[in-house]
């Protein structure tokens, strides 16, 4: 195989569920085999197929750019170190997301022990959300809308932080990553039914928290 000729299996990050079937999965399998043979180019292409969705998941789950960066590094380093042990008995997406979700679960558990909220920092002007300092999160030009939007965001974040780590994981993967419940079950090593129940509980908590705004 000429690794450089292997075409990209998935052009859309996060669309990896589809990789289990058809020609796309053939291409991805070729990339994985090339990476297993030591082809760095193929490994880099594998990373680039998934890294945007991995970073987005970690950012949304951990709500801290630094923690998301650390999870990204550790996840892909683990993939790099263990690519030879990947035996195609599940999709690459599932394998990668298992690694990512385990790392995120570890981070969330550590936080519960430390009881810290890493997305916020104390400043002389009061508590500031670090994610809000980036352009996407700057307040809207209309102060009233901005206030409401900030209020909604804080309530959603509070509710997310009150969910169990698994509820939060299922909620994020289903809601923001658009993953099917079956795929979520595969990633978390549980059944589709259990993932569904988890999603119901999480959504119910969210509905209760935002009830007056609905």
């Amino acid at each position: 195989m000429n690794p450089s000729s292997a075409s990209l299996a998935l052009s859309q990050p996060g669309a990896a569920q589809a990789c289990t079937q058809g020609a796309e999965s053939m291409d991805e399998a070729a990339l994985i085999r090339a990476a297993q043979a030591g082809d760095h180019d193929a490994f880099e292409r594998l990373v680039r197929n998934y890294d945007q969705s991995v970073l987005k998941l970690a950012t949304n789950l951990l709500r801290s750019p630094d923690d998301a960066h650390d999870v990204y590094q550790e996840a892909f380093l683990r993939v790099y170190r263990n690519i030879n042990s990947f035996r195609f008995d599940c999709s690459f997406h599932t394998w990668l997301y298992r690694i990512v979700t385990n790392l995120c679960l570890d981070q969330l558990r550590k936080r519960k022990v430390r009881k810290t909220e890493p997305s916020t920092v104390e400043t002389p002007e009061g508590t500031v959300d670090r994610l809000e300092t980036t352009p996407e999160y700057r307040p809207h030009a209309d102060p009233q809308r901005s206030l409401l939007s900030t209020e909604i965001k804080h309530r959603i974040e509070d509710t997310l932080s009150q969910m169990s780590s698994r509820e939060r994981m299922v909620f994020e993967m289903r809601h923001y990553q658009g993953m099917r419940l079956r795929a979520i079950g595969d990633v978390l090593g549980t059944s589709e039914e259990a993932a569904k129940n988890c999603l119901f509980r999480a959504t119910q908590k969210m509905r209760t928290a935002l009830g007056d705004l609905l």
Binding site: G38, E44, V47, T59, P65, A68, L131, I152, L214
Partner: protein
């Protein structure tokens, strides 16, 4: 279907998780139930509220992650450098493990404390600590003299951070990139630079930078990027010479694999000796089997006698 069942299915319907039959049954129920219609509307507003809280990674984070990953993978895949002085310096001083950082900070604090007690206070230090903070951008004071009327003249070098935007054809941009490609202090910067230069190997000066990085850069992530940039020039004698050197000397199997693949794209006769040499001493199984196959295809002897 009763309302309890319908409310359960409404959520899954929003995520497109219902089967055809479930969706049909739900729609039939909704058509006749104003309560569940209201619940569906509530679900939809919950969806739009949740969309407000979705975060995109901050700008630049993805690029930083990719750059840091390239550097870490480069470090990981250079086992023979593990005990070099440069590696030890980098491993323990520049990028110490997390557990060592507080220890290092305490050690520096203690060293500062004791040095302040032992070393007599210098007049210059006293002036500095009593006066305004030194300019952060002053790199070096070059000359000092009295300027009359009690004034003092100080001549100093200054470092300023500036930004330049332009195409790779811009001479200034090009020369800065060439200089960044050789910056020994920042492998991440070199990886990024190679990434920018790798598609411009048609220029001699860029190709020379790629060749130089391939031969000498201590970071394998940088060398891999340089290799990438040289793919289109794998027929040229100078590139082939560099590739042959890499195949024989590079301590990273990934780099050697890529180099041998490039060399074998054009099977010139001079490659036979190199392949036979690899068969004799190469440890990497893939390279050995690749060499063996190529030698057979070229109808050359697999062994040297």
């Amino acid at each position: 279907m009763n309302c309890d069942d319908a409310r359960q299915l409404l959520l899954l319907a929003g995520y497109g998780e219902l089967s055809f039959e479930e969706e049909e049954a739900l729609e039939l129920h909704l058509a006749a139930c104003p309560g569940c219609q209201a619940a569906r509307a509530e679900n939809e507003s919950l969806e739009s509220l949740l969309a407000k809280a979705e975060l995109d990674p901050p700008p630049g984070l993805l690029a930083r992650c990719r750059r840091d990953l390239a550097v870490r993978i480069g470090e990981e895949s250079a086992p023979r450098r593990r005990f070099s002085l440069a590696h030890l310096w980098d491993r323990w001083v520049i990028h110490p493990p997390m557990w060592l950082r507080p220890v290092g900070a305490l050690a520096m604090l203690a060293a500062g404390f004791f040095a302040a007690r032992v070393v007599p206070e210098s007049p210059m230090l006293a002036r500095l600590t009593g006066g305004p903070a030194p300019l952060a951008s002053v790199a070096r004071v070059r000359l000092v003299n009295a300027a009359g009327s009690g004034q003092v003249r100080v001549q100093y070098d200054e470092i300023r951070q500036r930004e330049l935007t332009g195409s790779l054809q811009n001479e200034q941009i090009r020369s800065m990139l060439i200089s960044a490609a050789a910056d020994p202090s920042d492998p991440g910067l070199r990886v990024d630079t190679m990434d920018l230069l790798k598609n411009h190997g048609e220029s001699d000066d860029v190709r020379q930078v790629l060749l130089q990085a391939l031969r000498t850069d201590p970071n394998s992530g940088v060398r891999l990027k340089a290799l990438d940039g040289l793919k289109a020039y794998a027929r040229e004698p100078e590139t082939r010479q560099a590739l042959a050197e890499v195949v024989q000397r590079d301590d990273n199997p990934g780099v050697r694999v890529q180099a041998i693949d490039l060399l074998l794209q054009n099977r010139e006769p001079e490659v036979v000796g190199l392949l036979q040499e690899l068969m004799r001493r190469e440890e990497n199984g893939y390279i050995r089997s690749r060499s063996q196959k190529a030698l057979r295809e070229m109808k050359a002897s697999v062994d040297t006698f």
